[in-house]
Subunit: 248 residues, 2 copies
């Protein structure tokens, strides 16, 4: 079973105070980029892997999605998600390391910053691929491996004031334990190549790969975002299941 | 026209002394990884973009390639390439910023560490796509953007002896001027996402993305290679032209 940090009191308390927890999608700096990768969701059957407070599920329903299933392993987050009204949205407690979905049941699979907590990504990709109808779309964001790889993930400033991101261990895949919001948070580092190759081998066609970059507008509004130009924090990917079903 | 550093006396002299210039493919640490991405070349019509001394062209011919065309802008390198015998290999002076190839003329396009010198990569990808027969393959290696991005590309060692690669400006695409082998060598930095998206938009299906990692065997033979685990130096990609020709 995956580590369930979101139900730890300390982590949950801190996480609840993040801008993205309070303001929802508009509080997430990468949302405009993610949104541009999404198809028109009107009429679609959608599954959200790691739905958290359910911001995306509600947004999708407001945009006319036919139905939305939100999966998360955190009871606390789902409890808050359920406390907001939203007809046509179903939330289920689910461990992304071992979950099942009905075959060809969805048109869009979505996941925001959850898959780096998953150790067996090959299995998750296979499950998602099987759950999508032919032509179905999979859009996910994940912590960028440049951001996650370092033994000490934090800015380094040299004597001349030059800010750099000190990469090491990039090719050494496996768990990374950090103290983000709480002590001992375990994430799983994979190179960008590994993530894409797993996706391809699961049968997806890679349609778009984006390393998040704030827009000039965003930097003008929040000048501290300029440091995001120095190294990518998020990786955004769109894959598609082939329009043809393989013959059995 | 692209910068022609290889014909500069200083650069050429240094380059000629590199292990990969003397020992050919076996002197290139990434060759086993590149080779594993190649199809069986026997019977194939091949174009090599930036063929240099022609090591790959000769290897491909020895493996039974039907014909090989080597393109390079360096007269000096082609002159040496031509001085070695090799029936069925043709070398042509060509600027990869502006070159033409006959439509659907080749089965495999190959390029080793040349495309980071090319500014207009979209145009090059379009040319290669058009020159491949349906189902044709494009395998290339390029300097990895993590390697190329930094304003000062070199290891940084902190007070505790920890070696890191100081990334900055990763999201700022454009020329990078370095002093590798000679002063003022211009390369063109693009994010990994940009390179892959250009390839996809040119009509290629991305089949494999690899960030070069030396094998345990290679590290045992050359212990200094262990530092390659800290950041990737090369990016290796295989794309494929769809097996179906679009109707006109």
């Amino acid at each position: 079973m995956a580590q369930n940090i979101y139900d730890r009191t300390d982590f949950f308390a801190f996480y609840s105070q993040l801008r993205r927890s309070i303001d929802g999608l508009d509080g997430a700096v990468e949302w405009p980029s993610v949104r541009s990768l999404l198809p028109d969701v009107a009429g679609l059957r959608i599954v959200d892997l790691g739905c958290g407070f359910g911001w995306f599920c509600r947004w999708a329903k407001e945009q006319g999605a036919a139905e939305v299933l939100g999966l998360d392993m955190s009871e606390k987050m789902l409890s808050r998600a359920r406390s907001w009204p939203g007809a046509g949205i179903r939330y289920e407690v689910s461990d992304l390391e071992r979950f099942e979905l009905s075959p060809t049941r969805f048109d869009l699979a979505y996941s925001s910053l959850a898959l780096h907590y998953v150790e067996n990504l090959a299995q998750l990709f296979a499950t998602v691929h099987g759950a999508l109808a032919p032509g179905g779309c999979f859009v996910f964001s994940i912590e960028h491996p440049i951001y996650m790889a370092p033994s000490r993930p934090g800015w380094s400033v040299d004597a001349e004031g030059r800010r750099t991101w000190p990469v090491d261990g990039y090719l050494i895949e496996g768990p990374r334990t950090t103290d983000w919001l709480a002590k001992g948070v375990v994430k799983h580092h994979r190179t960008l190549g590994t993530t894409l190759n797993l996706l391809i081998r699961s049968g997806f066609q890679v349609e778009h790969v984006e390393e998040f970059c704030p827009s000039d507008e965003q930097i003008a509004m929040r000048p501290e975002l300029v440091e995001e130009l120095d190294r990518p924090m998020f990786l955004l990917v769109r894959g598609r299941r082939s329009t043809m079903l393989k013959s059995a």
